[in-house]
Symmetry: C2
Subunit: 629 residues, 2 copies
């Protein structure tokens, strides 16, 4: 073993021993020090950057220069994923761009007013007065008397921990107990009448964020909505990065699993504290999430999910007692995972399908969930098809030079007339651009002819542009850039630009979604004209400018009134399955009938995709391809 050296990580101030040659990122992760690594440590973003405070600075790699620029490199910044430790040193872990304003799409649907969703959660609580075993009915047991009071049932199904509590409970309350069942099986017994307290939680585990909803199972009321970023992000921002992290590595899988579990348990506590509810009275939990999140939460190696043919280990709707998953709700609560359709079309898509009722539509409708991994569902009550489109995190502002999430300081809207006018979330000086801002900017740059339809920044033709615009179209550090905000107006102290590389990232991302829609149209034999509604689902879809999304061909050219926002439909679908076993059973039945279109497996997909990454206008696929990374 080589001698180790001491490395201090600020601002935490922890010093650890590291073998020279190991990267700062790996050393930090092994020691449990959080360093954000959105791209999974492949040098594709700058979320993991550190500043060397003391000790020798390793020479920059090409990745450092590309991602950080010459200036930051000179100041001692490095990508921790690319930089090896050489000697004892101290480094500062740079905080990720402020996430304070992260919004939860709370999707507070009023189920009490919606007669289409029955309140049949499967959870029943009944206050009964059980007889205590006595001489005159001596051939009995505590469990039998309890079940008899309930009207019958099988003693062999009572969970062991309930069996252990029954003798004392029955006698403490002289037989007056509340029995909780799920689908007829006993899951809890409490003394006295607690039948008014019957709660459940629905979770949507996204690659980027995790949201949870605490519901009253009796009334359908939403008591709390909680959410936060998925803490697995430190191991990679997109699915493939996380799969690569966990690949054939049980230790790494365990880390991912523990992180999501801890987040969910924190959500349970937060929601219960907010609503004044005891976690022990949460009897049902419904979880949706994409295939990778689903498998990781269950502790199933997602390696093969990430390799062709992208087969899940299990697709069926799993139900497990909370204790087996270490979820801090009632230990016998039924934790229900909605089924997976196929490949990356996961339980979250099932949630979208439930919520949008696309399965019941007389006409063709389309649901598009735009996220790190996008999903498209198309069809009607006659036939449903689905595909997944690996968009990557660019649409969420990641791997974009000045990208950030839709939080305070993010440019969300761009106008280009005589000059560029940006609208900023929170009306503060801008510090970056979020995904919806990027889409808007690109659309306006196309209109303003800053960008051509192949995606090239038109530096050569800049003289044709108005002067204020022309000055913004520059080449710097060998890369074409378009300055949205000049340094004096920037909250970051430097120009906020969109680089040629950023445009390419966006093209790949939007092309993935768009080609997914086109492929389903093609397989189903449907034209744009036949689509009566295109629904934008997901946290991101909710914020984009529809006209801009159509302008850049993220979405097909439909009349804008046919394109609607449906909010966090996956989360809403999870809530529906929580409140109603009819809805949960519907998901199980639907999962078997939906036809999965595997884009990668279709020979005609490459053609469609190459067309889809262009912007409308002259066909310039050849040009584009040579420009793409």
């Amino acid at each position: 073993m080589p001698a180790t050296v001491a490395v201090t990580f600020e601002p935490e101030g922890r010093t650890i021993r590291v073998a020279p040659g190991e990267t700062f990122l790996r050393a930090a992760q092994d020691a449990g020090i959080d360093v954000m690594a959105t791209c999974g440590g492949r040098g594709r973003c700058h979320s993991c950057r550190i500043k060397i405070l003391k000790g020798t600075v390793a020479p920059p790699t090409i990745m450092d220069t590309v991602q950080l620029g010459h200036e930051e490199v000179r100041e001692g910044f490095r990508l921790s994923c690319q930089t090896p430790v050489v000697e004892a040193c101290a480094v500062m872990v740079m905080p990720p761009i402020a996430e304070g304003g992260h919004q939860i799409l709370s999707c507070a649907h009023d189920f009490r007013a919606d007669s289409r969703v029955g309140l049949d959660s499967g959870v029943e609580k009944r206050f009964v007065k059980a007889r205590l075993p006595a001489e005159e009915h001596h051939q009995t047991s505590d469990v039998e008397e309890t079940l008899a009071a309930l009207g019958g049932g099988a003693g062999e199904d009572v969970p062991l921990d309930v069996l252990r509590r029954i003798p004392t409970l029955l006698r403490e309350a002289d037989g007056a107990v509340t029995v909780t069942t799920f689908r007829g099986k006993v899951i809890d017994v409490e003394s006295e009448d607690t039948s008014a307290h019957k709660y459940g939680m629905a979770f949507d585990i996204g690659t980027t964020s995790i949201v949870g909803f605490l519901m009253d199972l009796d009334t359908g009321e939403q008591l709390a909505a909680v959410g936060n970023l998925n803490p697995q992000a430190v191991y990679g921002g997109d699915l493939m990065s996380r799969i690569a992290f966990a690949q054939f590595n049980p230790e790494a899988l365990k880390k991912l699993q523990v992180r999501v579990l801890a987040a969910i348990n924190a959500h349970v506590k937060e929601a219960c504290d907010q609503a004044g509810v005891s976690p022990a009275q949460i009897y049902k939990v419904v979880i949706v999430g994409n295939t990778c999140m689903h498998h990781v939460f269950l502790g199933i190696d997602p390696t093969h999910v990430g390799l062709a043919p992208y087969a899940p280990t299990v697709r069926s709707p799993i139900v497990l007692p909370a204790k087996e998953l270490h979820l801090r709700v009632n230990p016998n609560a039924a934790v229900c995972f909605l089924p997976i359709v196929a490949g990356f079309v996961g339980a979250d898509t099932m949630g979208v399908i439930l919520a949008t009722r696309i399965y019941d539509s007389p006409d063709i409708r389309v649901a598009v969930d735009i996220g790190t991994n996008g999903e498209v569902v198309m069809g009607s009550r006659r036939r449903l098809m689905a595909c997944s489109a690996p968009a990557g995190p660019a649409l969420e502002g990641a791997q974009i030079r000045h990208g950030m999430r839709g939080a305070m300081g993010a440019i969300e809207k761009v106008e280009i007339g005589g000059d560029v006018v940006c609208s900023v979330i929170g009306a503060v000086p801008p510090v970056g651009i979020c995904g919806s801002g990027l889409i808007d900017a690109i659309a306006k740059m196309l209109d303003a002819k800053v960008l051509d339809s192949s995606g090239l920044l038109r530096v050569e033709e800049r003289d044709l542009l108005p002067s204020a615009i022309r000055d913004r179209l520059i080449e710097r550090d060998g890369e074409r850039q378009f300055v949205l905000v000049w340094a004096p107006e920037s909250g970051k102290g430097e120009d906020i630009t969109i680089t040629q590389q950023d445009v390419r990232q966006l093209q790949l991302a939007k092309g993935a979604i768009y080609s997914g829609i086109l492929m389903l149209e093609q397989v189903m034999g449907v034209t744009n004209g036949q689509i009566t509604e295109l629904m934008l689902a997901g946290g991101f879809g909710n914020y984009i400018n529809i006209a801009s999304a159509v302008r850049i061909h993220l979405l097909p050219e439909l009349p804008v009134e046919r394109i609607t926002y449906v909010g966090n439909a996956a989360g809403l679908g999870a809530q529906m399955a929580l409140l109603s076993e009819t809805e949960r059973e519907r998901a199980t039945a639907l999962a078997r009938t939906i036809e999965h279109v595997s884009l990668a497996a279709r020979p005609d997909f490459q053609d469609v995709f190459v067309g889809a990454i262009c912007f409308p206008g002259d066909e310039a696929a050849g040009l584009l391809l040579s420009g793409a990374e």
Copy 2:
């Protein structure tokens, strides 16, 4: 808190801090130092005795003198359950009388030759060749392909740990895997063909001993039989002592549970080592035991089992995965508890009923399981009745002055002619008397008129006896005694006697069993003449002299040829339920039809019991009662 003092326990040599006033027994138990306490620390036996080596000896209590005699008390011996710690001291924990020769009744039944027991264990292993998910069948999953190869099944039932292993297993072996199911549900998947290895274990958890049998589920062959004393004995020899120990005390219950679990896990290992079998290939476990052992093993507080009306918490046939019970076999092995009939008529009695096929008998038969807690089952294919008779541990040699288990040095047979002749197990100098020896001795003492039918040692009439016998009938330390072995011939260096108190203990014990039989006869309207067979079940029953047992009215006066030994029928019944689901289901059905006769609840029981504790001859119930403790 009072200041504590240091107490050293030899031979272990551990020194612990003890609050003055606490008993040595309690202090030792709290610290995890094993001190045998057969009577549960009530001063009723001498198994917990210690010798004070250093420090002040507390004055003896009356219990010390009664149990240990003046001489031992003078030498510094004390009952640790009665003696409080007063100051820093060192004590020697006396080893229990050697148990090396403890016998397991192995009940090696040849199931292969017994066409009545089908080999339908419910466990199936099938070697299949599963397809790996591929592009051309992309709408699938690892689990579905595995189940499809098996001919179908539901993915939602596959245990989580199997789900976690499936992706790697399938690909390692290119789809060639062996799938194990129990009643059609997947419990394991292994790579390659392991279908020849399909094992199970049957356990009989008795108050005194635990025995286990490793079986080949395919052939019915018994591969190993292992057994040992129940290590819970340090907390009490009989059921009531152990219930008292655990009563309303979750910590104490945990101690009992952990002890029996550790013993069973040791048995699993021992049996597997003997047979060269992997514990992971044990897929089914059947457990029988009395109600208290059953509850304690499941971690259910047995308090109420020990209080009128002695109601169990649960009677139904529980099946749990091994992992939930921390049993070190396959984690998803089905651990099946046979059902409980009622009160103390437990799962062990169900085993006896299965093994003796009493439910299928055209004529009246009786099965008697003689143990610390005896059970009696009577009936035919028309009607079955059962009761439990709390005999206490006297019949196993406990709470008898010179009592010991049936091991090397135990007097097992007594002849009284002109003098007393004792047969000793192992043909060594005698060191004590075991239960079967005690029954034989009492029978012969009755014949020799050393004892009258009320149970009184006839000291007043000793002059009527032959001289060698007369000299043995003495009063010493204020108690009547009969000397079986004089000190010079004794391996213990002192006289081996049967005291008046010993006779009383035996009378209470045998009276309990006998009155159970009488009560069932009475309730069922059956006479001795109608009983075509009386079967002695259990480790103890196997060793007693039938003529002597009838002579003392432990058993009713039937022609001796109608009384048979059936060995460890409870263990045999467990094996049958292990090998055959038909038999296990039969137990479930039978448990619902057997009529439980609660002796304590019957107003006529006191009369019957008082008669039953006498010996045959002149009725002397009144006399006896005043003589009994």
